[in-house]
C-alpha cells in the first residue's frame, strides 16, 4: 500500500527567501514563518469504491453529506406539505389521521433541525470549505472523516426505516418529552421511538468523528500565514459551531441512552409514578423536567450550531458581492465566539412554563436578552458592509438580502419569547412556530441557497442560470415570508401549536382563511425548490463553464491549482497567506480585489489597513 501514499514532505521547507525578491520591495516584507511540520500524506483512491463511495477526500465527503442531507430535507418538505394540507383544509385528505399528523410533525422537526440543517452546514459546507479556506490539503484525519459520513448515512437509514416499522415513526414531537414519548397514547411509542433514539445516538457518534476533524484542522492544519484572525468568517462560524456541537451533543446522547433504558428495561430516569387506564405503571421517582433540561442544554446550542455557520457564510457572501470588506471583522469574530459561549447559559428559556422553579426565569431571561446584543451587532455589520459598497444585485446577493430581512424579523420575535413574562401568553402557540421557522428555518435556508449559487461554480466548474435563480429566490422568499409573517398573529390569538384540528373554537374561526392562505403559500414554496433542481440539472448538462474565480473573491478556495479543486487542493505547493480575505476595493489597487495569497511586495502602492 505504501506506493499509494504520496510523500509531500519535500515541498514543505519553503523558506521566505524563495518567495521574495519582487522588484521594489525589501526582502523581508513578504516574510512568512516557515512550516513547522511536514505535509500530510494523502491516500489517493484508485477504484470507484475508494474514490467515490468510501472516499477520504473531504470535498467528496462534503458532497456526500450535502446530498444525503438534502434527501432528508426533501422528506421533511413533503411531510410539511402533508401537515399544511391537514391544517389548511381539514378532512380533505382523509388518510391523515391524528396519529399520522403527529408523526409528520415530529419527523419534520427532527429531520429539518438535525439531519438536514446540522448535517448540511457542518458536514456539507464544513467538509468542503474548511480545508480549502484554511489552505490545507485535506482534513487532518481523512479516514475518520469517511467513517463520520457513513455513520451519518446509517443514522439516516435507521431514521427512514422507522417509517416502515409497525406503529410507524414516533409522534412524540421533536422534543421527545417524556413520559408521553414512550407511553401508549403517543403514536410510534414502540419501535418508532426506539429507532429514533438509536438513530440520534449514531448521529452523535458520527458527528463527533467529523467534529474532531473540523476543529483540529482549523487549529492545526492552517497554511503558513493563515493566522486565526485572517480566517474567513465562514471558517470561524463553522469552527465555533463545531465546538458548541462537541459540548452540546453529549447531553443529547445521554438523554437518548437514559430514555432507551426507561423504554426497554423499565428504569425510571424520567418516569414518575404514572396512572394509565386505571392502572399504576411500574415506574416511579423519575423526573420529566430533568429530560427537558438535558434536551435543551443540547437544544439551545443546537440553534446556534445552525445559525453560526449561516452567520459566517453570509458575511463572506455579502462582502464578496458588495465588493467591500466586511465591516468590523474583529467584532464579527468576537460576536461569533461570544454568542457561542453565551448559548450554553440560556437553555431554560425554552422552559419558562415547564414547571421548573419559576425563579430560574429571572436568570434565563437576562442571559437570553444579553445574547441579543452581539447578535444585533452582527446585523449592523452586515448592513454597514452594504453601505458605500458596490453591490452586485445577483442571485447570491438576493439570498443574502432575504436572509437579513427574515433573520432580523425572527430575531426580534425572539426578544418577545426570551423576555420571560411576554413568553407566558405566547409560548406553545403558533407565535413560537412562526418565530423559530423564520429565524432558524428560513434564514439559514436563505444562506444555504446563496451558498449553493455562490460555490456551485467552484464545485462543478459551471455557473448556475441567473434568471432561474432569481425566480427561485423570489418565489421562495415571498412565499416563505407570507407563510410565517402572518402566522405570528395566529399565536397572538392564542392558537396552540401541535393541534391536529381546532374544531370550532371561537378564536379559530377567524383564522380559517389565514390557514388556507398559509397552506397555499407552503405548497408554492415547496414547489419552487424544483426550480433549483431543474437549474442544477440544466447547468450540469448545458451550463456555461465558469471562468476561474468568477466572483473575484479573495479567499483561498478560489485560488486552487484547478477548478474544481483536485484531491490535495493546491497542486504542488501550498499557498502562503499574506492578508485577510476581505481586501476589496483597496485604494490604489489595480483590481477591486486582492487575493489572500498576494504578497505585500506586489501591492506596495496600496493603502492596506488590515492584513
Amino acid at each position: 500500500m505504501s506506493d499509494e501514499y504520496e510523500n509531500k514532505s519535500g515541498y514543505q521547507a519553503q523558506s521566505s527567501e524563495a518567495l521574495t525578491g519582487s522588484a521594489g520591495s525589501t526582502p523581508d516584507m513578504d516574510y512568512v514563518r516557515p512550516a513547522e511540520l511536514p505535509e500530510q500524506d494523502l491516500y489517493h483512491g484508485h477504484t470507484f469504491l475508494t474514490k467515490w463511495v468510501f472516499c477520504q477526500d473531504a470535498k467528496v465527503i462534503g458532497v456526500q453529506y450535502f446530498l444525503t442531507a438534502v434527501f432528508t430535507g426533501i422528506v421533511g418538505l413533503i411531510l410539511s406539505w402533508l401537515m399544511r394540507l391537514q391544517l389548511g383544509f381539514p378532512g380533505l385528505a382523509g388518510f391523515i389521521t391524528a396519529e399520522h399528523y403527529y408523526q409528520f410533525v415530529t419527523m419534520h422537526g427532527m429531520i429539518m433541525v438535525v439531519y438536514f440543517l446540522t448535517a448540511l452546514f457542518l458536514g456539507g459546507f464544513g467538509n468542503y470549505l474548511i480545508p480549502l479556506m484554511v489552505g490545507a490539503r485535506d482534513m487532518v484525519f481523512p479516514y475518520v472523516n469517511m467513517l463520520s459520513f457513513w455513520m451519518f448515512f446509517v443514522a439516516v437509514a435507521i431514521l427512514m426505516a422507522s417509517f416502515f416499522v409497525p406503529g410507524g415513526p414516533t409522534g412524540a414531537g421533536w422534543t421527545l418529552y417524556p413520559p408521553q414519548t414512550i407511553l401508549e397514547g403517543t403514536p410510534g411509542s414502540g419501535m418508532g421511538i426506539l429507532l429514533m433514539l438509536i438513530s440520534l445516538a449514531l448521529f452523535v457518534i458520527g458527528f463527533t468523528m467529523g467534529g474532531l476533524n473540523y476543529m483540529i484542522t482549523v487549529l492545526q492544519a492552517r497554511t503558513r500565514g493563515m493566522t486565526l484572525m485572517r480566517m474567513p468568517l465562514t471558517v470561524w462560524g463553522i469552527f465555533t459551531a463545531t465546538v458548541l456541537a462537541m459540548l452540546a451533543f453529549p447531553a443529547l446522547l445521554v438523554s437518548a441512552i437514559m430514555m432507551t433504558l426507561d423504554k426497554v428495561i423499565g428504569t425510571s430516569f424520567f418516569m414518575p409514578t404514572i396512572l394509565k387506564a386505571g392502572e399504576v405503571l411500574e415506574y416511579g421517582g423519575g423526573s420529566p423536567i430533568l429530560f427537558q433540561h438535558l434536551f435543551w442544554f443540547f437544544g439551545h446550542p443546537e440553534v446556534y450550531i445552525v445559525a453560526l455557520p449561516a452567520f459566517g457564510i453570509v458575511s463572506d457572501l455579502i462582502s464578496v458581492h458588495a465588493r467591500k470588506n466586511i465591516f468590523g471583522y474583529r467584532m464579527m469574530v468576537w460576536a461569533i465566539v461570544g454568542i457561542g459561549a453565551l448559548s450554553f447559559f440560556v437553555w431554560a428559556h425554552h422552559m419558562y412554563v415547564s414547571g421548573m422553579n419559576p425563579w430560574f426565569g429571572f436568570f434565563f431571561a437576562t442571559t437570553t436578552l444579553i445574547i441579543a446584543v452581539p447578535t444585533a451587532m452582527k446585523v449592523y455589520n452586515w448592513i454597514l458592509t452594504l453601505w458605500r459598497g458596490n453591490i452586485r444585485i445577483n442571485t447570491v446577493m438576493l439570498w443574502c438580502l432575504g436572509f437579513i430581512v427574515t433573520f432580523v424579523n425572527g430575531g426580534i420575535t425572539g426578544i418577545f419569547l426570551g423576555n420571560v413574562s411576554v413568553d407566558v401568553p405566547l409560548s406553545d402557540t403558533y407565535f413560537v412556530v412562526a418565530h423559530f421557522h423564520m429565524v432558524m428555518g428560513i434564514a439559514p435556508v436563505m444562506v444555504i441557497m446563496g451558498a449553493v449559487y455562490h460555490w456551485f461554480p467552484l464545485i462543478t466548474g459551471r455557473l448556475l442560470n441567473e434568471t432561474l435563480g432569481k425566480w427561485h429566490f423570489w418565489a421562495t422568499f415571498l412565499g416563505a415570508y407570507s407563510i410565517y409573517f402572518p402566522m405570528h398573529y395566529l399565536g397572538f390569538i392564542g392558537v396552540p401549536r401541535r393541534y391536529y384540528e381546532m374544531y370550532d373554537s371561537p378564536y379559530m374561526t377567524s383564522a380559517v382563511g389565514m390557514n388556507e392562505f398559509i397552506s397555499l403559500a407552503a405548497f408554492l414554496v415547496g414547489a419552487a425548490q424544483f426550480i433549483l433542481i431543474f437549474n442544477i440539472i440544466k447547468t450540469l448538462k448545458t451550463g456555461k463553464p465558469a471562468p476561474k474565480n468568477p466572483w473575484k473573491a479573495n479567499s483561498l478556495e478560489w485560488h486552487t491549482s484547478t477548478q474544481p479543486p483536485e484531491h490535495g487542493n493546491f497542486g504542488e505547493r501550498l499557498p502562503v497567506v499574506h492578508r485577510w480575505p476581505y481586501d476589496f476595493s483597496v485604494p490604489g489597487a489595480k483590481d477591486d480585489f486582492i487575493p489572500q495569497t498576494t504578497p505585500p511586495s506586489e501591492v506596495v502602492h496600496t493603502k492596506v489597513e488590515k492584513t
Binding site: A98, L183, G185, I289, V405, F416, S585
Partner: protein
Amino acid sequence: MHAGIIFFLVILGSILFHIFTPWYWTDIASNWKGMDDTITLTFWVGGGVFVAVCLFMIYCVFKYSYKEDRKAEYKPEDKKLEKILTVATTLGVAALLAPGLIIWNQYVNVPKNSIEIDVMAWQWGWQYRLPGNDGKLGTTKVVNINDDNPFGINLDDPFGRDDVMVQSDIINLENNRPVKILLRSVDVLHNWYVPQFRAKMDAVPGVVTYYWFEPNKVGEYEVLCAEYCGVGHYAMRGGVEVQDPNSYQEWLGEQETFSDLLAKQNKEIETKKVAKNNSNIEKVIYKEEK
C-alpha cells in the same frame, strides 16, 4: 432596482398588515394586562428596529448598486460607530427586559388571599378540586386514585374530607378573586391554558406546579391543553365560567364534597352487599333447578 422595490413593498406590507389585521389577541379577561403592555412595547421597539434595518438595507440597494466605474469604500473598522451601536442596543434591550422581569416577579408571587384550585389532568381530560370550609386542600397520591377516590386524596388527611370535588371539565370561578392554579398530572405533561387569561403553566406528573391570575370579566371561556400530550392533545378541552360572587356561591353550594362521596359509597357498599346476597341466593336457586 426592482429588487429594492419588492423588498420595500414587503416591509410596507408588513406594516400595513400589522395595522389592519383582524387577527389579534382576544379581549383580556384577567389581571395580566402588563403582559399585553410589554408585548406592545416590544412591538414598537422591535418593530421599529426591524423597519429601520430593512429600510437602511433597501436604501443601500438603491444607492450602491454595482457600477463598473465606482469603487466601494475601504474602511475595515469604525470603533466609534461600533461603540455607539453596542451601547444603544444594550440600553434598548435593558429597557425591554426590565418590565418583563417586573411582571414575572408578580407572576411568581401569589397573593395571600387567592383561592387554591387543584387542577388534575390526565390523557385526556380535566377535573377540579376546591378547598372546603377549612380553606385547605387535602394531600393526594397518584396511587390512591380509583373509582371511589377520583382525586387520590389521602384518607388520613383531615384537610381532605371537606374538599369540594368538581368531576367535570368545566370549573366556575369567582370574578375579581385571585386564584392559584395548582396543577398536577397523573400521566404525562399537560398545560391548563385559557387564552383570555394569558397565563399558563405545564402540569408535570410527580410534582405540583402553580400559577395565578385574577379573572375580571364575567363569562364563559374555553380551556385548551397547551402542552403536547399524545394523540388526543387537540381534543383535550375544558371550560371556565367566571361568575359574580352570588352566583358563584350558589354554584359552590351545589357541589359534592369528598365526605359526601364517601358517605354515598358506604351506602352503595351496603346496597351492593345486599345485592350480592340476593344474587348468591339466585345462584343457589339456579343450581338447584339444574
